[in-house]
């Protein structure tokens, strides 16, 4: 009995090892292809970003001389000093060359290198997005699973109700409510600033992260719930259950695993989208991050900083989505096969 089982098991293991190697090779191949695609996307984006900003109304030189009427000579001197008088391709090339060497130029507004300006704001935004992502994943997927498994019961309806409410609350409304209840009235959380040190930073980021992620959590819950329900209704699930396979095992192996595809895709899109939605929440909680910086720099025509941020956000989008694409075949065998055949 034991031997009977062991032999096929060994064979199965060998098959699995071969399959794993093949899968890794195919993943590596597609990873290289995707990385190249990513680079191309970024290059095209950089061109679009650079040119669209220079097509936008408003003259950075007029910002630089704010507060007074410069003579035409003065204006010409300023335009020359900042290279505004170079032809477009030259300006683009200078900029791209700088970016490739890690130099995003100098902010007109802050009299500092763009990199220094960004570096001082990135950690806060990354923490905010990181904590929000965690909340979305844990709460969003968790509630979705509960909603699907308890479908038709009171708990299921409660989840549905929360999803509907959550999806309808814009982050600025959530920010105002959270701030006035838990910040001002109860005094449990600080209402301004980024904090210093790990625990203090986390303490500062809780309310903003909830405000930022409430809509996204609801979306993920909804997607998770419906994806799980779809899987639950499938024939093989019903067959497995009727054959007496324990329900938790079926849910884990068949239902959740198959539902993870759409869930991952949605999460990926939401997370990269969050980078640009932080401005309102950051402002409401007096935090200093990339979102509020972007708004300010658009206001003041500080093109160098705007270009760097937009490029950064696009890069984040591309990277997160590439990661999702790479992870997808690992969790969904059907895609894997299709990918391997390609």
């Amino acid at each position: 009995m034991t031997a009977d089982v062991t032999a096929p098991a060994a064979a199965a293991n060998a098959v699995t090892a071969r399959a794993v190697t093949a899968r890794l090779a195919s993943v590596a191949g597609s990873a290289v292809r995707r990385l190249l695609g990513m680079a191309a996307t970024l290059l095209v984006t950089s061109f679009l970003v650079f040119s669209s900003l220079y097509l936008a109304p408003g003259d950075p030189a007029s910002f630089l001389v704010r507060g007074r009427s410069p003579s035409p000579q003065e204006l010409a001197a300023i335009r020359h000093q900042y290279g505004f008088d170079d032809p477009f391709p030259v300006r683009y090339w200078h900029w791209l060359d700088g970016v490739l060497h890690g130099d995003f130029g100098r902010s007109y507004l802050f009299h500092q290198s763009v990199w220094e300006v960004l570096w001082s704001r990135l950690p806060a935004t990354l923490l905010l997005v990181g904590v929000s992502t965690l909340m979305i994943a844990v709460v969003g997927i968790g509630a979705g699973i509960v909603g699907a498994l308890r479908n038709g019961t009171r708990t299921g309806s409660a989840v549905l109700l929360l999803v509907t409410v959550g999806a309808a609350v814009p982050s600025f409304v959530a920010a105002i409510m959270l701030r006035s209840v838990f910040g001002v009235r109860l005094g449990w959380f600080p209402t301004i600033g980024n904090g210093a040190g790990v625990l203090d930073r986390l303490h500062h980021v809780v309310l903003p992260a909830i405000a930022l992620s409430v809509t996204f959590m609801a979306l993920v819950t909804r997607v998770t719930r419906s994806a799980m329900l779809d899987e639950l209704r499938r024939e093989h699930v019903e067959v497995a259950l009727s054959r007496g396979v324990p329900r938790p095992t079926v849910i884990r192996r068949h239902v959740l695993r198959n539902a993870l595809g759409p869930i991952t895709t949605v999460c990926g899109l939401l997370i990269s989208g969050m980078l640009v939605s932080t401005a309102i929440v950051e402002t409401a909680f007096g935090m200093s991050g990339v979102g509020s910086l972007l708004v300010q720099c658009v206001d003041e025509l500080d093109f160098q900083v705007v270009q760097a941020i937009v490029l950064l956000v696009v890069a984040a989008f591309v990277v997160v989505n590439t990661l999702v694409d790479l992870v997808y075949p690992l969790i969904d065998p059907r895609v894997r096969t299709a990918g391997g055949a390609r």
Partner: protein, 548 residues
Amino acid sequence: MTKSRPVPRTRRTLAAGALAAAVLATSACAGTAHPAAGAAYQLTDATPAAAGPIDSFTWSLFGEPTSIDYAYSFDFPPNQILANVCESLLRWNPDLTTSPSLATSYSNPTPTSWVYQIRPGVHFHDGTVLTADDVVASLRRNLDPAVAGDWTSPYRNVKSVDKTGPLQVTVTLNTPDSTFNKYMAASPGTVESAATLAKDGKNYGNPADGVNCTGPFAFSSWTSGQSLVLKRFDDYWDPQLKAKAAQVKFVFLSDPTTRVNAFRTGEVDGGWMVPPDAYGQLRSSPAGTLYFGQNTTVSDEVVNNLKGPLGDVRVRQALLMAIDRKGIVKAGAGGVGEVANSLVTANNWSGAPGTAAADALKALPAYPYDPAKAKALAAQAGVAGQKIVIATSPLDSQTTIITQAVAQAATAIGLKPEIDTISADKYTALFTDPAARQGIDLFLTFWYTSITDPLDMYAGLQTGAFSNYGGWSNPQFDAAVNQAVGAYDPAAHAAATEQAQQTAMTQLPWLPLYTEPVSVFLGKRITGVRPSIAYLYYPWAAEIGAKG
């Protein structure tokens, strides 16, 4: 948003004050309060003196400075920080007089020269000693096209700045300019170490390098986007203004509600420019006290298009008469303010001799609220049914209320107002970019002066001046302003200025709405500040200490 910021990002006009300044010692009358005529608020000259030193306090700013280089400091956030760190040749006091600071005395031996005697034994924050070379290097930056600073206009008549003794600097003018010396009490008179300017170059005043000046506080650190910290300077030369706090932390909070919440929770100890819609809330708050002080700010509708219906002076007069300005003060400014009949406040005239100030005020044409009369006046001009565009930005309730009231007035006199709501960035651009002002007839501003002199405002309305947005031109007005700028005699100066003001207020290139006091909130831990618009140049934070 409070006044100034994006919306009506105030271009402060610079008005300079009393020539007689040097005589006046800083007079601190503690705790005197006087009610503004018939108003529901009172102005306070000084808050109770600090009982003792304090380790640190936190202060809110509505925006982050982009630099603390004095050459680029032309807005509330950088100026209220720098006022405590960098000093000018003269000092603008909370009572809006000026007195000696880094210059112990000055003289005007010829109409085109100003000679400054530099104070000996003053140390910069890095320990080096102030010399005439530092003053020359600092003032000359305002003339340098490569610096392209914000303060070139006060220097428009300057020919050269030279060292004429070990501790003496002479400024030579092309033509007599009575306002130049007054500006030496504001940013244009700032003195920085020449060595630091040379060493830091383009990085001077940025978050990494900061500044090296002589004030009661020294630059300590600046965390971009979050806060800027100053620490007490122990070698400060003026014992009267030695800082009581060992440290001040400025935090940048652009959202007005966020700022008010931070006051209420005690996370922030105070701040200038309290949002008017929070006056009520903060007056009754156990978290601290709200004070009002002297100001030089007037809210105005700028007439941006003189080719449209507003090109006829009768229509401008009619519109002003049809605006319910008392209603605006009540609804838009929390009842804290007075209807304005001039583009400057009475405070701007405090440097004028004798009864000149009172006379100027009495002689002003008044435009009392009278929609019927206004309608008749506009009918004479035959503009009924014509469209005007009023620009606004959805930044605070105050701006929205004022814009609605102006639109209502336009309707009342037969015009067809159209409200053009534009984003904050575009709104800011109105003040600098002619292209952004295309197609707009009126826009709102809160305009203040940096010196105690109405000329700071009126020189900006001369033909071709930068802030003359509507391209208004009146030869009589231009001549009167020129005459006033050239007049050193206080009486002649005031007379010519009054003449310019008369013309402006009859012709109404801008429509004055109301004046408002400076507001400041102090949390329950701190006291000692003197509420006044002088906070933009006077080391106000040095006087703040612990409450008993």
